[in-house]
Amino acid sequence: MKIYDVAIIGSGAAGGMTGHVLTQHGLDVAMLDGGPLRKPSEFPIHRTRRWNLPYRGLRGDYFAEWLNMSGFLADDKKEPYAASDKGGFEWTRVRAIGGKSLFWAGVTPRFGVNEFQPKDDFDARWPITYDDVAPWYDKVEDLIGVSSTVQAVGGFPLNKGLPPMRPKCAEVELTKACESLGRGLKVLPIPKAILTKAHRGRPACHHCGPCWLGCDSGSKFDSLRVLVQTAQKTGKLTLMPNCRVRSISLDKEGRASSVHYYDTVDKQWREVRAKVFVLGAGCIETSQILLNSKIANSSGVVGHYLSEHMYASLGGFLPQMMGRKVVNEDGNGSHIIIPDLTENWRGNKFIRGYQIFPSGGISEFTFIGKQLAGFGQDWKSKIRDYYTAGASITFQGEVLPYKDNHIVVDEKLKDDAGIPGVRFHYKWRDNEEAMFQDMMQVGEEILRKAGAEFTMPKNPRPIHYGHSIHYVGTARMGKDPKTSV
């Protein structure tokens, strides 16, 4: 049996990048992924509109109906998972070469200096600093193409960027409001891995709208176009779609030697041998494979410290945007960001922080009619006035890494191949509650300052567990082998 130099499990941002770099250096690489190889022409973008969907794209998360319809998501019936805590956990698994990178929104800020080395002593320090990683940020940003933030602010660094995104009308108004609050909020052009000009053989963005339905032109970075296909051109990559990995086994010397997978097309179990194995199967499935393999876990930490972004948002309407001529304001979603750097205004109610996306303008549809009294022609005309005036403040906050927030593999949750599935144990604690209250307060202040019309929700809550799809943790790095993986 052939022995590859390296076997990579997963073809998304992590697996794809590893495969790209290793094949460029001449290594013989096998890349396994549980999903099929799909063409960009199969992405749901441009293929159907909301009114053709049974639930009009309103059921579940905003992308779910489209991606389910086109078969890009794991079938939860065939590959079940569960959550033990009350709040559940919505887990999104893309099944296609390129993984979740196919359907992300492209927002690409660097971590700030203080995010690498927080000033609090809540948890063990990362073994790396911003300065260690900065040259690699430069390389990756050049490879994938990222729009510039134009300036560094505090601990938030300047990136190596293509021309910056240009703000929309509503974003200009919200920028004025944010920066005049006296809270030290600084609005920057959003860094996105979406090309503002042609770059490395890929065309500039054509602003068709929902980037999260997949970019058919390849103007948004995804692993399939930028990494996997480049690796294939070297002739050194053996791409193995439809290979759902169960585990990695060790040889007599205790070294990883084989990866065992289920071929979802011909329903056969097989193995691939290699000298080195790289797990890039996404945060959660990487740890699922480690746990099912019973390896790399002398610390007992595999699966623990699961975290993600806590999402919250507030919406309103800007009078200065009302009754405008309807023009195409899709752009590529948000064009501005307030980075998480403003430790001076947070006080001591919670530690760590959040980034803010002030956004607004003319979007695809509006339900403002529910908030405006009455019905009939006059009411419809008011809806049209408000339609051009939407504004929203969206927050992404850090959920602290708690050891108890973790996954286990559960024999009762076997998939159709008999592989034990994932059970989540995950909840927010006091720090997240305090951070959320602060988000609502800041959001209200911004909307008031901008002169927006809005109603505060009666019982505001963050969006549900798992919504961000920004899963992190479960195989944490560290200096001490007893507390890291």
């Binding site: 441009h46 509109r49 909301r50 009114w51 053709n52 969907l53 049974p54 639930y55 009009r56 794209g57 319809m69 078969g71 240009r166 703000p167 929309k168 009308c169 974003e171 500039a204 963005c205 602003h207 068709c208 709208g209 929902p210 309103g316 009078p319 200065q320 009302m322 009754g323 309807v326 195409n328 304001e329 899709d330 752009g331 590529n332 003319i362 979007s363 695809e364 549809f365 509006t366 339900f367 403002i368 009619g369 529910k370 908030q371 405006l372 009294a373 009455g374 019905f375 009939g376 022609q377 419809k380 809806i383 049209r384 006035d385 408000y386 339609y387 002169g451 019309e453 809005f454 109603t455």
Partner: protein, 183 residues
């Protein structure tokens, strides 16, 4: 021989596409090609709901309104998955409008809408229910998005200018409307 093989391959592809489409669209809520089969509403209820929806969102020079958007189909589809209590509320609410003239429906709706943001009676609560559903159905339909709102996006636009205005003025005679009734 080659022609025959090509035909068989094409036919297989057609079949495969048809199967795939059927799998994807097992329940089209508003597929123009095929008549929608109602899952929950009886024909009389469909007619009543259409009459109500036509008063709520009438046709005008911009669009054909709720009737052209066939909002009753989407509402039926969503309601067919609804809880018994929700279905009961719709059944009773629609029954109270059954057989009324358009003018009588409008009068009833005006009366029920007075307490829109603090509904108490059954008729006031049904108004909120039906208005919310009609808004959702119409403003996510092709008629609502493309014609009524004249949404311009989801098109190729090579150059996105961003804001080019020196300032944005509040329209003359502006009066805030959101949250006023519920405050």
């Amino acid at each position: 021989m080659a022609t025959r093989r090509l035909f068989l391959a094409t036919a297989a592809a057609w079949w495969s596409q048809a199967l795939h489409a059927a799998h994807q669209h097992t329940a089209p809520a508003n597929a123009a090609q095929t008549p929608y089969l109602f899952r929950y509403f009886q024909p009389r209820q469909v007619a009543t709901l259409r009459s109500i929806a036509t008063v709520l969102i009438p046709a005008d020079e911009r669009s054909g309104g709720a009737a052209a958007a066939r909002v009753e189909e989407y509402i039926d589809f969503i309601l067919s998955h609804g809880a018994t209590s929700l279905k009961d509320a719709w059944r009773k609410g629609l029954a109270s409008y059954n057989g009324k003239s358009s003018a009588a429906i409008e009068t009833m709706l005006r009366e029920s809408s007075k307490a829109e943001f603090d509904p108490k009676s059954d008729s006031e609560q049904f108004f909120v229910l039906v208005k919310g559903a009609v808004v959702e159905a119409f403003y996510t339909s092709e008629e609502g998005i493309n014609k009524e709102l004249s949404y311009q996006g989801m098109k190729f636009l090579m150059n996105f200018e961003g804001c080019t205005h020196s300032s944005h003025a509040i329209p003359e005679g502006y009066k805030p409307l959101v949250g006023k009734e519920s405050a």
